[in-house]
Amino acid sequence: MTGIVYSNDLILPSIYKMGIQLGDTAESILAGQFVHVRCGQSYDPLLRRPISVCQADVENGIIYITYQVKGKGTQWLAEQVRGAKLDILCPLGNSFEAVMPADIKEMWLVGGGIGVFPLQLLAQQYNDKADIVSILGFRSDEFKPLWQPFEQYSKRVIIATEDGSYGYKGLVTDELALALRAHKPQIIAGCGPSKMLKSLAYIAEQYDVPCIVSLEERMGCGIGACLVCNCKIKSDGEWHYRRVCADGPVFWSHEVSFDE
């Protein structure tokens, strides 16, 4: 489908937030789902780029993505201005809601760095149904624009920075472990670098709290056909490759094999 760029603002060095007009489709997008964007008409870059939806303005039919400029694809995105047309496939992926039990009343969101974006939409879509505590980690206080959006949707926001320039000094997973000693929520939803997710999965298991995580993998089609976006998922003592784009990106953390 065609999306129209509504806004595209630099919010931090090399990080942009883009609003995309999608009409009625904006309403159907669930947290954890992503858009698969064609970056230009040329054969270089050839593949689409997967980016999570971080916010939805259903009334005006606008979704938001926040992305870091990494290479050719995201550089092209950064150059787009209001009114530009985007070739988009969406919504793709299973969503947090598809994995999570119904009737969640208390949810902790645990995220790190530029991996927090899918959690932002989760907070937006669940804050009227559940008590949300956001526990987020960043390199330094420079990244404040990335945690600010969580404030209006969370009962509490706990920030950890690696350099101690804001909140607790240390890793977000250390903060999580501390918090879990005092109280266990109904569910944890996590997103971030795979090293962080691995220790999140470990901690959740230690404290026996159900935990779902959103994974990233290099993608081709994004619709479940080409089988390039595989991750190892365990069940009943066996593992199988599953498609991050179609079976995921959200999985139960205890089922994910983070070995590779």
């Binding site: 050839l46 593949l47 080409c226 199988h240």
Partner: protein, 304 residues
């Protein structure tokens, strides 16, 4: 209304148009049915099947290169039995030609699987002896004229469906392997499969693909593919199905001019799920614009 006829006949199998979705990029069609009407396709070559289910290679399995992609999926598939019970009935609902793509680790595996597929209602068998992503995965069978002849003969014994042999470009002389397949009883050829390649991350000094090497496809390989299709079509009398980097109708027509009776569209599906139907429309428009009535008016029409 126009009186253009886009039908093609490949060894007795009628395709409503010359565009086939290529194996490995289209799964078993289900995912694409949300984006296009599968009834519109000339045919679907399903994900490469092996006798037993296969998990495939570790991630990452894809790397983007200039105008191309490298993949190292490694034939992840549910196996022939699961295909027959779960996927084939689904595909048979549609009015399109179903081509079972078969790969294997050994002669025996190829033959047992071919025998199973012989008993079910597929339209054609495409013998994949050119997958570069698994050790035995067929490529060794596709590497020399002798090995191509041998595996084609073996499978031919079990296969009463029209047999298409899918050739690898990773060979010394494509003409020799094309002849070998024909002499061993192939009813048609399809080419080219992916070219062997690799991608390296200079920062980490590591290969990008989990499997280190992979198969290159996409616009980057089109000139090589055209050349090989042209050579094969000049060498054999059986129909040739061309593929390799076809992104639009014009690309497809170039392959037909080089001698292909039909084409397969692969990588383009990953970028645009509706690529196949757009290419069919493009070919029709080309025929209309050029006053052509049948696909025969294009195939082999290269002037040189």
């Amino acid at each position: 209304m126009n009186d253009i006829n886009m039908c093609v006949d490949i060894c007795g199998v009628k395709l409503k148009n010359p565009v086939i979705a290529a194996s490995g990029t289209f799964a078993f069609g289900r995912e694409y049915s949300r984006y296009l009407d599968l009834n519109k396709l000339g045919g679907i070559s399903v994900k490469g099947l092996t006798l037993y289910p296969k998990e495939g290679n570790p991630p990452p399995r894809i790397a983007e290169t200039a105008a191309g992609i490298l993949n190292s999926v490694g034939l992840q598939n549910p196996g022939v039995d699961a295909f027959i019970s779960n996927e084939l009935p689904y595909l048979k609902q549609f009015d399109t030609v179903v081509i079972a793509n078969l790969a294997g680790n050994s002669r025996d595996e190829y033959c047992v699987a071919a025998d199973k597929l012989d008993k079910v209602d597929i339209d054609m068998l495409e013998l994949n002896i050119s997958c570069p992503n698994v050790k035995e995965g067929g490529l060794s069978f596709g590497a020399t004229p002798e090995s191509v002849y041998d595996i084609t003969r073996q499978v031919r014994n079990y296969c009463h469906h029209p047999l298409v042999v899918k050739l690898s470009p990773n060979v010394g002389n494509i003409k020799d392997v094309a002849s070998a397949a024909q002499n061993a009883g192939a009813d048609a050829l399809s080419l080219i499969n992916t070219l062997l390649g690799m991608a390296i991350d200079s920062h980490t000094r590591k290969p990008i693909l989990g499997n280190v090497t992979g198969g290159l496809s996409g616009p980057a390989i089109k000139p090589v593919a055209l050349y090989m299709v042209w050579q094969a079509a000049q060498t054999v009398d059986i129909p040739v199905i061309g593929m390799g980097g076809i992104m639009n109708g014009n690309d497809a027509i170039e392959f037909m001019l080089a001698g292909a009776v039909a084409v397969q569209v692969g990588t383009a599906n990953l970028i645009e799920p509706t690529a196949t139907v757009r290419i069919i429309d493009d070919i029709e428009r080309y025929m209309l614009d050029n006053g052509l009535k049948t696909i025969k008016d294009i195939t082999g029409g290269l002037i040189c």
